[in-house]
């Protein structure tokens, strides 16, 4: 992997070859796409949401397509943090790029416990706290909407995990910038936004919601404008770096987020459609830099004029 120095970035203490991150839940533990692209093509990979105890996940159907997007209600299926530490994390160095562990819980104590177990774990370059998963009944999105709760949750996790700490926000918080500032105050090193937006599709022949979980999280190009707006608002309200995501499929999409203020960008749903997306986006970013005579993509962060 010959990395281009014009794309290198240190995100909240994580040294990345480029600002492209594989989004949580969309890239497994980083190995599933290896037949298509070398995982080391990524700046970092955020692995599937991990919880204290194993979770079987939701009954199917778990996904349904929507116009320019999809709903998912995976239900945080994962083998639990212990299995992760025993069996998966030792292999993560083989990815060739930093692995960040996305964590979730049903109580603040659970979040703290998972974070504590990951502290110092081999193969783990950082933790992303998912306070915005729309598909878990207890906790989940309710955590992510109240600035006071967010502050307490992040403070607890911060106390338990000493490495780079990202907090992933939902765009559905009534007061997104307040939630962002609360996470910053509590010690987050970076913010990721956005997670999916809750949605529902009804099968009109069967007359019931398609998803067994009734609702799911909307991802993909459909939500991109909402995500760009959220990054723009939050990047202007905090001084820690922001990871922008939501519907990125191309270099032009990634540039929208960077210009809006994102230091890095993550790609989720687009991998499903085009496994080579990461490679094309990198090439597109470099092409843009060359065309515009820029030395480093950093010159573009938050550079959108108003």
């Amino acid at each position: 992997m010959k990395a281009d120095p014009r794309l290198a970035v240190n995100l909240a203490g994580i040294a990345m070859r480029n600002p492209l991150i594989a989004a949580s839940g969309c890239y497994g533990y980083g190995f599933d796409y290896a037949a298509w692209v070398d995982p080391a093509e990524w700046g970092a990979i955020v692995v599937k949401g991990t919880t204290l105890r194993p979770r079987p996940g939701n009954p199917p159907p778990r996904i349904v397509e929507t116009p320019s997007g999809m709903l998912n209600a995976i239900g945080l299926q994962n083998p639990g943090v212990e299995y992760f530490l025993e069996t998966i994390s030792p292999r993560l160095n083989a990815l060739g790029c930093p692995a960040i562990v996305n964590i979730a819980g049903e109580t603040i104590a659970e979040y703290r416990a998972v974070a504590g177990l990951l502290d110092g774990a081999p193969g783990v370059s950082g933790v992303e706290v998912n306070i915005s998963c729309p598909n878990v009944q207890c906790g989940g999105i309710s955590f992510g909407c109240d600035p006071a709760v967010v502050e307490e949750l992040v403070r607890q996790v911060r106390g338990a995990y000493r490495g780079p700490l990202l907090v992933k926000l939902s765009p559905e918080a009534g007061s997104l910038t307040e939630v962002a500032r609360a996470a910053e105050r509590a010690g987050a090193d970076a913010l990721s936004l956005i997670n999916t937006i809750r949605g529902m599709v009804i099968d009109v022949e069967a007359r019931r919601p398609v998803l067994e979980n009734l609702t799911g999280g909307l991802s993909g190009p459909a939500i991109r404008p909402v995500a760009v707006r959220a990054v723009w608002e939050v990047a202007g309200a905090v001084s820690i770096p922001v990871v922008g995501l939501g519907g990125i499929t191309s270099a032009a999409d990634a540039l929208q987020f960077i210009l809006a203020g994102a230091t890095a960008v993550a790609v989720g749903t687009a991998n499903f459609v085009e496994p080579y997306a990461v490679r094309e986006i990198k090439a597109g970013l470099l092409g843009y830099l060359a065309k515009n005579g820029l030395k480093h993509y950093r010159e573009l962060i938050g550079a959108a004029k108003t």
């Binding site: 839940g25 159907p61 116009p67 995976i74 299926q77 993909g220 459909a222």
Partner: protein, 267 residues
């Protein structure tokens, strides 16, 4: 990383022709042979733009891996497959694959019973053609609603296949479902070494039940709504029995072909 042959293929659509009212046979020229195994599938992009967003999975209906020719048999089931039906010869088709585990025991000499329900015959056709070519014994049973809902006999001749047909209205072949035909065959003929089935879920449940009851190892090819097709998103989960509990497995990567005994058909 086990499947190094997985790549993106920009195929040329050589032909797209109606087989029955809503079945279409697509013949594609791939730039490189996929060297797919029967039971594996590809993911087709439906067009430019982001609606529809996701690719659609189709079993490989036949591959001539020397010529790099691929066939897909597609039933129009909704908006996405309607787009596939409208593809025109000469068009470039963006296809990923092959994905998934194919039907197991490809070289087994014991007689295999291939049981297809409707469009579920698509991957079994490939398996049958392969067994025919390699001189491995098999019987091919296909069920449909009526005579017109299944391809004409000539359709099968290219690979010297002579499936036994069952139609619900008896307008062609055996009168009844393909599972009834299967039971009939098991009652009247010798016990096969294995059953491979693909078709609607209730049919597969019945086939698995029949196989279990008679102690015949049975594999079924399942469907699910796919997103990534590589095992990364957990979107295609299907329930399985494991140690008395239910466990979800990924149709795209752990399957789509599974041991019929393990599938949790009840849910």
């Amino acid at each position: 990383m086990e499947n190094k042959a997985q790549i993106a293929h920009r195929c040329l659509l050589l032909e797209n022709k109606a087989v029955t009212g809503d079945w279409f046979l697509l013949t594609l020229q791939a730039p490189l042979p996929l060297q797919a195994r029967p039971g594996q599938f590809v993911q087709l992009r439906l067009g430019p733009g982001t609606d529809p967003l996701l690719r659609r999975p189709f079993s490989i209906h036949h591959e001539d891996s020397i010529a790099g020719r691929l066939r897909l048999l597609v039933r129009v089931a909704g908006a996405g497959t309607a787009r596939v039906a409208a593809f025109v010869a000469g068009q470039e088709i963006d296809l990923l694959g092959p994905f998934g585990q194919g039907f197991p025991y490809p070289e087994e000499k014991a007689k295999a019973l291939l049981v297809g329900g409707g469009i579920g015959m698509a991957p079994l056709y490939f398996l049958a053609a392969q067994r025919r070519r390699e001189g491995l014994p098999f019987d091919f049973l296909i069920g449909g609603r009526s005579a017109a809902s299944l391809p004409a006999d000539a359709y099968f001749r290219e690979h010297r296949l002579e499936p036994s047909l069952a139609t619900e209205d008896g307008s062609r072949g055996f009168r009844g479902t393909v599972t009834a035909l299967l039971e009939h065959r098991l009652l009247t003929g010798p016990q096969p070494g294995r059953i491979h089935a693909c078709g609607p879920l209730p049919m597969l449940a019945r086939v698995a039940e029949i196989g279990r009851a008679r102690g015949i190892p049975t594999h079924v090819s399942l469907e699910s709504r796919l997103a990534c097709a590589v095992g990364a998103c957990l979107g295609c989960a299907f329930p399985f029995h494991r140690d008395g509990a239910v466990e979800y497995r990924r149709v795209c990567r752990d399957g789509p072909v599974f041991n019929g005994e393990e599938v949790c058909f009840e849910s």
